[in-house]
């Protein structure tokens, strides 16, 4: 423990004297990863980055317990790497560069300290171990940021997909249309239903036309979901009209003993719209010439 503290104290003392020089030497490492081919940073930003890093590591080494990875000084370093990872990802860089930069930074830091102090740190196991442990944790912070960002992107893509797979349109005041295309599985039906019911509540829609022209097959579970969706629409006080049922689907519904007696069905979307307009007392006609 005493030895640990001595290591950190010695490094801290060295840092406080040599900050300026070390920062200059570390700029090279940053340039290699962020300026060379990728051009993710300019020289000025690299200088700021290196100087900020050196200040933060000097702050950690001069802290009360430089070995504690829960100290505010270490959290500041973690935040520095997380912020850097986020910035690089947003600029089109990849996480590998940031991780490699962090690894190289560790060696460059030891090299720079050796050069400036004349002490062979590479011979000191305790110093190497100290930096290795801290940098491992900092690399973890980079990965956490990367994974968090990836998760956010996936969530955003998922939300977009959900939005586009349920294109609920208000085709007339109080009339919604919902063309269902592709396979209807249980989870998708739930999403469609949620979106549809929220839309009815928001727009105060009085009729909903659900078009199944794009649905090629249906199973027992899905047909029950469909009936459930119709029931939920009706419970909210709207009229539900199902259109475009393929003969194969009609046959499947009958063989599955699905009761469609309480459901209004029409052959095509246009017939469904006519029915919805009729119920709402809307009259659409050709313009008289």
């Amino acid at each position: 423990m005493v030895q640990k503290k001595e290591v950190a104290e010695k490094l801290g003392a060295l840092f406080s004297l040599k900050v300026g020089n070390i920062s200059g030497q570390l700029e090279e490492t940053a340039r290699e990863f962020f300026c060379a081919d990728s051009k993710l940073m300019d020289d000025e930003e690299v200088a700021d980055l290196s100087s900020e890093f050196v200040n933060l590591i000097a702050g950690l080494l001069s802290s009360k317990d430089p070995h504690r990875r829960t100290s505010p000084q270490f959290h500041a370093l973690e935040a520095f790497f997380s912020g850097l990872a986020l910035r690089m990802l947003m600029r089109g860089g990849n996480v590998d560069d940031v991780v490699r930069y962090a690894q190289k930074l560790q060696y460059s830091l030891i090299d720079a300290l050796e050069k400036d102090s004349g002490i062979a740190f590479t011979q000191s196991r305790s110093v190497l171990l100290y930096f290795a442990q801290h940098f491992d944790e900092l690399i973890m912070a980079v990965f956490r940021t990367y994974l968090g960002e990836r998760e956010n992107t996936l969530k955003a893509q998922e939300a977009e997909l959900r939005e586009t797979s349920t294109p609920i349109t208000e085709i007339w005041d109080g009339v919604l249309t919902l063309p269902i295309i592709g396979t209807l599985d249980s989870s998708r039906t739930m999403l469609v239903m949620e979106a549809l019911l929220n839309r009815i509540a928001r727009d105060h829609a009085r009729a909903v036309v659900m078009d199944l022209t794009g649905v090629k097959n249906i199973d027992s579970q899905v047909s029950h979901h469909l009936i459930q969706m119709v029931r939920a629409v009706q419970l909210m006080g709207s009229d539900a009209i199902i259109t475009g049922i393929h003969p194969e689907i009609a046959r499947a519904l009958v063989s599955l003993n699905i009761d469609l007696s309480g459901v209004t069905t029409r052959a095509s979307l246009s017939d469904g719209l006519k029915e919805a307009f009729l119920r709402l007392g809307i009259h659409v006609s050709h313009k008289e010439s």
């Binding site: 509540a201 029931r231 419970l235």
Partner: protein, 111 residues
């Protein structure tokens, strides 16, 4: 006469609006049913609108209460319509509903 746990207001010729309050107790629906139906009947009401706007979920117990109230209304020729059902309530109710409910539904009280 005010009935504890609900607001029952006459909103037009023959129409009544029932707004349940948080304090409404449906554990023992008998007395409550009797009071509601009696008041609507006294006012020569023919239509009872039940406002569900404050109810995010309708479970089996609440549905049984609605069903009982609607069937009681039917026996004395009062039509019951549930209005302003929230999407979450419609979703949960549609999951366990096996037949057409005894009450009608509408988005709101018609103009």
């Amino acid at each position: 006469m005010a009935i504890s746990g609900i607001h029952l207001t006459r909103i037009g010729k023959g129409n009544y609006l029932l707004e349940p309050l948080r304090s409404m107790n449906i554990q023992d629906p008998g007395a409550l049913l009797q009071h509601i139906v009696a008041q609507v009947q006294q006012g020569h009401g023919t239509h009872l609108y039940y406002d569900l706007s404050e109810l995010p979920i309708i479970d089996q117990i609440y549905y049984d209460w609605l069903d009982k109230l609607a069937r009681t209304c039917q026996t004395i020729n009062i039509k019951m319509t549930c209005i302003n059902m929230q999407s979450t309530a419609a979703f949960t109710l549609s999951k366990f509903l096996t037949s057409k409910p005894a009450f009608a539904t509408a988005l709101d009280v018609p103009d």
